[in-house]
């Protein structure tokens, strides 16, 4: 035992910084979940504050909380329904482009928004949609319509989040699918052509089945972030006017915890959301194992 440890002393030394950081920033916070069942205030430690049982879970009877849950699920659903198939369709379209120059141009341009922050995206939305002199409202007015207060409207918030999310990530998310397409055996297409299969038939019977394993992996990997609907994206766009539809679990945790100081209650909400995420991953991984014969781990 000691001999083995001595033999690998360099390796243990090298992994030490990572272990310390994991302990400090992942495992101690996990132990900190007990705050959800305690009456914690700054000044106490997570260990010596008094237990309160399920007192912090009183939010479960708060209608505001259920509104936030509804908003979260609604946005998660919309983002998934539009955000999951879109890169697959885009990758199939890019693959149909025969001119190499145009294909590379489309790829370069569509990857670009991934590299900008959600704050920059919020600025773009503001410049295009603001009530006085936003580009879209200029157009609406010049066509004889009444300007729309997009940024402060409850109806336009969800479309705004879905479209800007697509705009930022759809191109980037095609990379894996395009890579998978290049690994498909070209002889399959040749054979299909001989059989007289058109482009659509080739996509349906060769390209799509060829990227199906990639699709299932991406599906599993997207599960943990499914109900973390992108607080990075939503927080900058949220304002008092659209809050009734914009407030999601993460912004609720942020507000009640960091801004109002209800640490125990905010931790309890966070715990619920972490557990749901974990369940989603485990269930999809099990399903992938059944369908593909193997999961992610």
């Amino acid at each position: 035992m000691f001999a083995a440890i001595r033999k690998y002393k360099w390796q243990y030394l090298m992994i030490m910084p990572a272990v310390v950081l994991l302990l400090l920033f992942s495992y101690v916070p996990m132990a900190g979940i007990q705050v959800a069942f305690k009456n914690f205030h700054i000044g106490y430690t997570i260990w010596n504050s008094p237990w309160t049982g399920f007192e912090n879970f009183a939010f479960l009877q708060d209608s505001q909380f259920w509104l936030v849950v509804r908003n979260t699920l609604y946005i998660a659903f919309l983002k998934f329904v539009f955000g999951f198939p879109a890169p697959i369709i885009l990758a199939l379209m890019i693959n149909e482009v025969s001119r190499g120059g145009f294909k590379r141009f489309v790829q370069s341009v569509s990857y670009l928004p991934h590299f900008f922050s959600w704050i920059v995206v919020a600025y773009i939305l503001q410049s295009l949609l603001t009530l006085d002199n936003g580009l879209v409202n200029q157009l609406i007015v010049s066509l004889g319509g009444d300007p729309v207060f997009f940024l402060g409207s409850t109806e336009w918030f969800r479309p705004m989040v879905v479209v800007s999310g697509l705009w930022k990530e759809v191109g980037w998310n095609t990379i894996l699918y395009l890579a998978a397409i290049t690994t498909i055996d070209p002889q399959l297409y040749e054979a299909a052509k001989v059989e007289g299969a058109g482009r659509l038939a080739q996509i349906r019977h060769i390209t799509f089945p060829g990227i199906l394993p990639t699709i299932s992996i991406v599906l599993i990997l997207s599960m943990p972030s499914l109900i973390a609907v992108g607080m990075d994206q939503i927080y900058p766009l949220m304002n008092p006017a659209n809050q009734p539809v914009a407030d999601v679990l993460d912004t609720y945790i942020l507000r009640s915890g960091l801004q109002q100081g209800y640490f125990g209650m905010a931790t309890a909400v966070g715990l619920l959301s972490s557990v749901i995420s974990l369940l989603l991953v485990l269930v999809t991984n099990q399903m992938a194992r059944k369908i593909n014969g193997e999961g992610l781990w």
């Binding site: 132990a31 914690f40 341009v109 590299f115 704050i119």
Partner: protein, 298 residues
Amino acid sequence: MKRSTSEKIGQALITLILLVLCLSVLYPFMYMLAISLNVGSDAAKGGVYLWPRKFTLSNFQIVLGNSVIQHSYLITILRTIVGTFSGLLVTLLAAFALSYRQMPARKTLLTLILITMLFSGGLIPFYIQLYNLSLINTFWVYILPSAFSAWNMFVMLKFIHGIPEALIESAEMDGAKPPRVLFSIIIPLSKPMLAALGLFTGVMHWNDWFAGAFFVSDQDLIPVQTFLQQLLSAQDISVVMGSNNNVEALARGSNLSEVTLMSVKMATVMVSAIPILCVYPFLQKYFVKGVMIGSVKG
């Protein structure tokens, strides 16, 4: 081979859709650039779509003359450099150590790392821990919590496993200790992977506004993105006009009355976006490779 009419129409349709997509990506930047280079009071009348109508640099002079912005820029650059370097180092050291399959406790360590990818304590316990470690309101809150990345570790591990073991074994025969193996074999062979992961880590640091907004209250420590986030909901331009070296000079030229909140906002966001637009074409080949390395499951 003859193509049917319907396939030609399909091709044309696809080309059209892709062109519209590209335009939707590029146009907002051209629009924001045009507004930021136009006299603010003039742009407010509307009608500036593609080119500035009354050209001016005063919006940029105001933005670049603001000492808070200058300082936030410095913080962003510093955290990007320190964060990327330390992130790659800590993660690579861990991945290299774990690439020794015979190492005792290897499985346990890997499992412990995997768990952190699936479950976390959540924001509040994390914040309490930052508070207990006295990291709140320090520069290190940008660096330390993200210095080890579980995801990047697994990507690196998989890459290292792809390096022929014979190379490492022959070096070990010659008496090379692990640090030597790492620096003379692993790192030179991992350059494309390190470049890609370094790029992703760098972009993450460059774009992060969250830590600056919630873990730091000292205005001298906020990065550009957090400044932008504060400016996003600003109701007047005093945020940018205060502590500004260029305001006096501009006031003498009586340009000041023509500056609007929108024109200053657009100039600020362009100042944060232009560096990325400039380096993007050169880095492309690295990140596509990087996504591929990470894609095949390990």
